[in-house]
Symmetry: C2
Subunit: 198 residues, 2 copies
């Protein structure tokens, strides 16, 4: 390699998902040949994000503040709480629907074999939140997978224990699919026609 | 978006080749969820590379020094000069063959319609280099495309003007292909059986 710094950059790029040695090399050359300003901007954005983005104390979504802008907003409906597995799922719902309630981001799904139980998903804090009495509807938007369904079942019971009605997105989300990849129209329809949990 | 810094990171990632909004989003979440240390390392490597990697004054390859390690090395054969289009091509030859001569990186190919002529490829400096009298063989390893062939023809004439024999890689490199993607074995064979230019 003609430059140790270039070699370091190529190795460092491999931290990105799906990027092998060859892609990393092409990315490095592309940045150095044609996008130095964009490369500097990326370096700055990445350093700031890694250093300053944590989790919202209220909803567990990514946030650079103690409480994220959504949770802190006075214009959201505090009676509705939508529970999702990941920040990407939360973003997909926010983008596709007109939902104005709040969110709770599990950062995962129940998976006993991987050692992921209720505590790892912050379900104790979710229970405390439901006990506050503000939430009237828990919209469970976990993925339609085996583990997502088990997680939904658990949260549905939790809601009922606090006298809150749980609902799920309507059929329309493809079985076995990932919420994040559902097209806007389908997701918006499924969200709008969500049904009370049986 | 739950965090302005996250939004900035996603936008900044789109500077990478082939990365659209959705991939950028997945990359950002992956880094924040699972690879913060690697993300910080990438930020540092990128900032250092963009700031400190320039071009070798002798061969035009990427280099963080005025003269790159290859050009500065006492153990390379100064009688052989291999001319390539890009740093990636130089790296492919260095990796696949036992070549111990020097390189000249054009950083492009002749393309009159795009305004890329001899001056843009530093061919004046290449001519000055050949005039120094050290080089005995110019190995022309441009890509086997129309523009690459035209570039090879031009450099072949330049070599002959200085009484130096030009050679080209042997057949084996697929026509219309990009050198960078040729497998090691084919490239090594083609390099070893290069022929004098007709
Ligand atoms: Zn929040
Ligand atoms: Zn050099």
């Amino acid at each position: 390699m003609s430059s140790p710094l270039l070699e370091q950059l190529i190795e460092a790029l491999r931290v990105l998902p799906g990027v092998g040695r060859k892609s990393a090399q092409r990315m490095a050359y592309h940045l150095l040949e044609r996008e130095r300003t964009g490369g500097q901007r990326l370096a700055d954005a990445l350093a700031a994000a890694v250093d300053r983005i944590g989790h919202c104390a209220r909803c567990r979504d990514f946030s650079e503040d103690e409480i994220c802008p959504t949770c802190a907003s006075a214009s959201r409906d505090v009676q509705q709480l939508c529970v999702v597995e990941s920040p990407a799922d939360r973003l997909a719902i926010e983008d596709a629907t007109g939902y104005r309630g709040l969110y709770y981001v599990l950062q995962g799904r129940l998976s006993p074999l991987d050692g992921i139980g209720p505590a790892e998903l912050g379900l104790d804090r979710l229970a405390a939140r439901l006990a506050e009495g503000e939430v009237a509807e828990v919209i469970i938007a976990t993925n339609p997978t085996v583990e997502g369904e088990a997680t939904a079942h658990y949260i549905g019971q939790l809601a009922r224990q606090h006298g809150i009605r749980p609902s799920r997105l309507a059929h329309g989300v493809p079985l076995g699919g990932e919420l994040e990849y559902v097209d806007r129209g389908t997701l918006s329809h499924a969200f709008g026609t969500r049904s009370e949990m049986g």
